[in-house]
């Protein structure tokens, strides 16, 4: 086993622990959010192992740094209300959901992933994940979707301000 593989296994194991923690500790939303932060942070490093620098750092910046802070903020605000705490209890669907999840994992694993078993790494492009190359493609071939996503973000800002106002 090479150094690359060991690094990957460690990172992936932490990511999986984080993902599992989100669900297992779901009755304590702050714990759950913390595990999600762990997962997102390590996911950024998994992107680095794929050579995608810009996306890896964006992952940490956007998800771990901004979105999850927002989640924690909301959880703490709502934690004052008893209804929020009551809603954290899970119901009797647990075992079935876990069973279905395991089935899905095995089915997709067997049907989709098994044929890809032999695929291994190839020489990476020098410009795979650099800001320059991504910027070039983003502002030429993908300029239209890029503009649309900026409009979407604007709508998101306006919408959230509207929702946050006390009186409609």
């Amino acid at each position: 086993m090479s150094g690359n593989q060991i690094v990957f296994i460690v990172l992936a194991a932490i990511a999986c622990i984080g993902a599992a923690g989100v669900v297992v500790f779901g009755d304590n939303p702050v714990r759950s959010a913390l595990f999600l932060v762990l997962n997102f942070f390590v996911l950024g490093f998994l992107y680095f192992t794929l050579g995608a620098q810009l996306l890896g750092i964006s992952q940490i910046l956007v998800y771990a740094g901004a979105i999850m802070v927002l989640f924690l903020f909301v959880i703490m605000m709502l934690q004052q209300q008893s209804a929020f705490l009551r809603s954290t209890e899970s119901d009797g669907r647990g075992p079935i959901a876990w069973l279905l999840g395991a089935t899905m994992f095995m089915t997709v694993g067997a049907a989709v992933l098994a044929p890809l078993g032999g695929v291994t790494g190839s020489p990476i492009l020098d410009t795979f994940g650099t800001p320059q190359s991504i910027g070039k493609v983003l502002f030429t071939g993908y300029a239209w979707p890029f503009l649309i996503s900026s409009v979407l973000l604007l709508v998101g800002i306006v919408g959230s301000i509207l929702l946050a106002k006390r009186k409609f």
Binding site: Q5, A12, G26, L50, A66, F71, W98, V119, L153
Partner: protein
């Protein structure tokens, strides 16, 4: 710079994250936790996109095709991030508004519109 990590490793990690997110959506009744599980699923797909973008280069015939393959996956990740950010802002706003409006509990109680 090549890599000796099989593509399947990334995909299995992503699949595990996705399945966990799916289970969380079904099991948990707390809207914020369900929302977090959805984010988890989105990130799992992001990882898949990136892994395929990275490993498709081998099968590309020309340098242009390789660049295309490498870039399209990353573009998709960027757009997913943008959409997720907008979605979180609005979604959390809605959750806050609901909890402020009616002091009711979890997702199952939010069914006033049901006929």
């Amino acid at each position: 710079m090549g890599t000796d990590i099989p593509l399947v490793w990334y995909l299995v990690t992503a699949l595990f994250m996705f399945v966990m997110g799916g289970i969380g959506v079904v099991v948990r009744r707390n809207p914020v936790v369900v929302f977090m599980c959805i984010e988890l699923m989105l990130n799992a797909t992001n990882l898949t996109f990136l892994a395929f973008a990275r490993y498709q280069i081998a099968s590309a015939q020309t340098p242009e095709a390789a660049l295309q393959a490498a870039m399209s996956g990353q573009m998709m990740v960027i757009f997913v991030m943008a959409v997720a950010a907008a979605e979180v802002a609005v979604g959390l706003g809605i959750i806050m508004a609901i909890f402020r409006l009616k002091n009711e509990a979890g997702l199952d109680d939010m069914s006033t519109m049901r006929g």
